[in-house]
């Protein structure tokens, strides 16, 4: 505080309050108000030193101190960064955070903005080393308490399950939850027994699903008004139901089974037989994942409704064709026209190309790195981006998948537009070497950059493809057949003119071909230079193929007209 003569500098004070449980928050005067009142009184007592309360309230009700993802806290930190606040007042330190590493970050932000913070009930001064030591000790205990709490809860759950108690979650079909216990619901239990019985007869979950939906049972479920129940007869849910040991009176904890306190619904031998049948029908897998043709964007691609596109593939003659497909196209045949079916390789190449662009755009990268508050060393970070890119290009698909998931939050599809949402925070953290996971940055709101690529779908021969209107967004794709066509045309023209007047048929024999081929190709030597060049460099319009080019019977003489004919 620098007093200039007698004038006292005005200090803008903000009060931050937090409470982890929502219990009692609906009371008129709740814990948050109590915290706030104590802080406000403290600020009033310091009025002679120029302390002044700002009108904004920073209250986080019902949010744990273990996370940084608290709206009011983030708002507070932003205001501090923008130097709108000089002093942050809290009731106790642990209101601010219970994690030592998060606290280190918060203090760093405060230091940078020359803001200080005060805890009303715990007196210390963070400007001295002694004060910092005390603070770190306090926080170590706060973190310890949090970890012990977590351990305690985990142990409690394990112990309860050992005793056979049901520990919550979705109530399985056939039961009702009463006083945190599972009670058999006779009507539904009947359905469960039928499902087990019928599966053993049908030996097919798909058929079972169909039959169960056709039966009147669906109506029985409808009465329960529980949307989860209504989905009980879908294939995935049936698999889960048929393998759920809860129906023989067991409680599962991780990979252990304990005898439960609830009544079984299914006979043990029926259940055992079901498990055997399920196991015998499960496909034999050599590895946990199919390493060939991994979908790199599984779970990332969303359509205009926010639904995730599914990864699908078709096999033909041993080749796997991968797609990203809308849910509707997979499930319903009634409305199969709507929705997306995008060729995976193309979509992935667009995304990979954008990633490459981001990692090689040193101007943009250095801007991002400078924005993040924890680094000054841009040069080494830029070197790392090159290494990162090389690492990506040489990675196996599963590693690529992990990297894409790390850097890309989502790929959003709209008709005519594809948006890739990059997590800049993750990227810059990786490049500068600040590990997001240890500093708790993973919890803070990620900085996102949206890269938009306008595109349209078009058929190119038999394959459907994405066309990006932004030419640079697409990697060049040299079409050998097309290039060969153009180069041969030029070869023929050269042989006609250079050898001192060869005839057309001489040129044909020179190249082991016939006269009609020569006459057919020669006009292509007079393509507009810009078209020739795009063909040679692989940046030709997406749908321009050798077949199309050689079939255009009457190519216009004018270059401008040639271009407009071939460009669209």
């Amino acid at each position: 505080m620098s007093g200039n003569g007698n004038t006292v500098r005005r200090l803008r004070c903000a009060i931050y309050t937090r409470k982890s449980t929502e219990e009692g928050l609906d009371q008129d005067f709740n814990s948050l108000d109590a915290q706030r009142e104590a802080c406000a009184a403290y600020i009033a007592s310091q009025a002679s030193l120029g302390w002044k309360l700002v009108p904004d309230r920073y209250d986080d009700g019902g949010i744990s101190g273990g996370t940084m993802e608290r709206p009011a806290l983030q708002r507070l930190l932003t205001d501090v960064r923008e130097r709108r606040i000089d002093v942050v007042v809290v009731y106790k330190i642990d209101r601010l955070t219970r994690s030592l590493s998060d606290f280190a970050r918060i203090v760093e932000i405060f230091d940078e903005a020359e803001a200080s913070f005060v805890s009303v009930t715990q007196q210390f001064n963070t400007t001295t080393s002694m004060g910092r030591l005390t603070l770190n000790m306090l926080l170590s205990f706060a973190q310890f308490e949090r970890e012990v709490t977590a351990e305690r809860i985990r142990d409690k759950i394990a112990a309860s399950k050992k005793k056979g108690m049901w520990m919550g979650g979705t109530v399985p079909l056939g039961y009702r939850a009463q006083n945190r216990k599972l009670i058999v619901h006779e009507q539904e239990a009947e359905i469960v027994r039928f499902l087990f019985q019928r599966y053993l007869e049908l030996k097919s979950v798909r058929a079972l699903s169909k039959e169960a939906k056709a039966q009147g049972y669906a109506a029985t479920l409808k009465e329960t008004d529980d949307p989860v129940r209504l989905r009980s007869f879908c294939r995935g849910n049936l698999y889960h139901l048929l393998s759920n040991p809860i129906y023989v009176g067991k409680i599962r904890h991780r990979d252990q089974l304990h005898d439960g306190q609830h009544e079984p619904i299914v006979e043990p031998d029926v259940f055992a037989e079901t498990q055997a049948l399920l196991a015998s029908q499960a496909p034999q897998r050599r590895s946990a994942t199919n390493s060939t043709g991994t979908h790199l964007l599984t779970g990332l691609v969303r359509d205009e409704n926010g639904d995730v596109l599914r990864s699908a593939h078709a096999n033909k003659k041993g080749t796997r064709y991968r797609y990203y497909v809308s849910k509707d196209k997979v499930e319903g045949s009634d409305n199969a026209l709507a929705g997306w079916r995008l060729p995976a390789a193309q979509l992935e190449s667009v995304v990979e190309h954008q990633l490459t662009r981001v990692l090689t755009d040193r101007a943009q990268l250095s801007g991002w790195i400078q924005e993040s508050a924890y680094t000054s060393d841009v040069a080494t970070a830029l070197d790392r981006s090159t290494a990162l890119l090389e690492g990506y290009q040489s990675a196996v698909p599963l590693e690529k998948l992990a990297m894409l998931r790390h850097f890309i939050q989502a790929v959003e599809l709209l008709p005519g537009q594809l948006t890739i949402v990059f997590d800049v925070e993750a990227l810059t953290d990786d490049l500068t070497g600040t590990r997001a996971s240890t500093t708790g940055a993973a919890n803070s709101t990620p900085r996102l950059v949206r890269i938009e690529c306008p595109f349209s779908l078009r058929r190119r021969g038999v394959e459907q493809c994405l066309i990006l209107h932004d030419r640079q967004a697409r990697a060049p794709r040299q079409d050998d057949a097309l290039i060969s066509l153009v180069l041969r045309a030029h070869l023929f023209l050269r042989q006609l003119t250079e050898g001192g007047g060869r005839s057309l048929s001489e040129v044909a024999t020179l190249n082991n071909t016939d006269l009609s081929e020569v006459s057919r190709l020669l006009p292509l030597a007079f393509l507009a230079p810009c078209i020739t060049e795009t063909i040679l460099s692989g940046t030709q319009p997406e749908h321009l193929t050798a077949q199309r080019l050689s079939r255009i019977s009457d190519l216009p003489l004018s270059w401008a007209r040639q271009q407009s004919l071939l460009a669209d």
Partner: protein, 176 residues
């Protein structure tokens, strides 16, 4: 390409020229008379191409180099084929069929290797950065040309010369 009405009219007028004039244009452009029995369409096409090339510029150096490279390759293949065919003439004539320069495989790969020489120029919006003598030089590729130090340049090589004071290949200087 902007529609140039005057040029468009001149191109259209080519179709009305008598054959003699088209032949003269061919001789002027290619330095030899057109092949016998060539269709009028090709003569028109050639005349129109060269007319437009005079106004708008012809093929780029890269493209011409690729075409020359391809022609040379095919020429060499032909020599090899002829040589082996000649040698075999004494013994087994049929084996000359084994070396067919026009087999699709060689044509495709030769085309690919010739075209591989061509790299597309950096797209507009690209920013190139190069450190030289302790200073960072930033170059922006725009639609109109190459922007460096507030001035537009036609080629990267020109920029490289401006920076270093000596002749450098621009793409090489900027590490493309």
């Amino acid at each position: 390409m902007r529609a140039d009405h005057k040029l468009e009219r001149e191109v259209a007028a080519i179709c009305d020229l008598p054959r003699e004039e088209l032949v003269a244009a061919w001789v002027k452009a290619h330095g030899c008379p057109p092949p016998k029995g060539v269709k009028r369409g090709l003569l028109e096409r050639s005349a129109a191409w060269h007319l437009q090339a005079r106004r708008l510029g012809g093929l780029s150096t890269h493209a011409r180099r690729a075409i020359r490279q391809y022609t040379k390759q095919r020429e060499m293949e032909r020599q090899v084929a002829k040589g082996s065919a000649g040698a075999d003439n004494s013994g087994c004539v049929a084996s000359s069929d084994l070396v067919r320069p026009n087999s699709v495989g060689t044509a495709g790969s030769a085309a690919a290797s010739a075209a591989a020489m061509i790299k597309p120029p950096p797209a507009p919006g690209t920013r190139l950065m190069r450190e030289w003598n302790g200073r960072m030089h930033v170059v922006d590729i725009t639609e109109d040309g190459i922007l460096f130090d507030g001035k537009l340049y036609r080629s990267l090589t020109a920029v490289a010369r401006r920076i270093t004071g000596t002749h450098w290949s621009g793409p090489r200087f900027f590490g493309l």
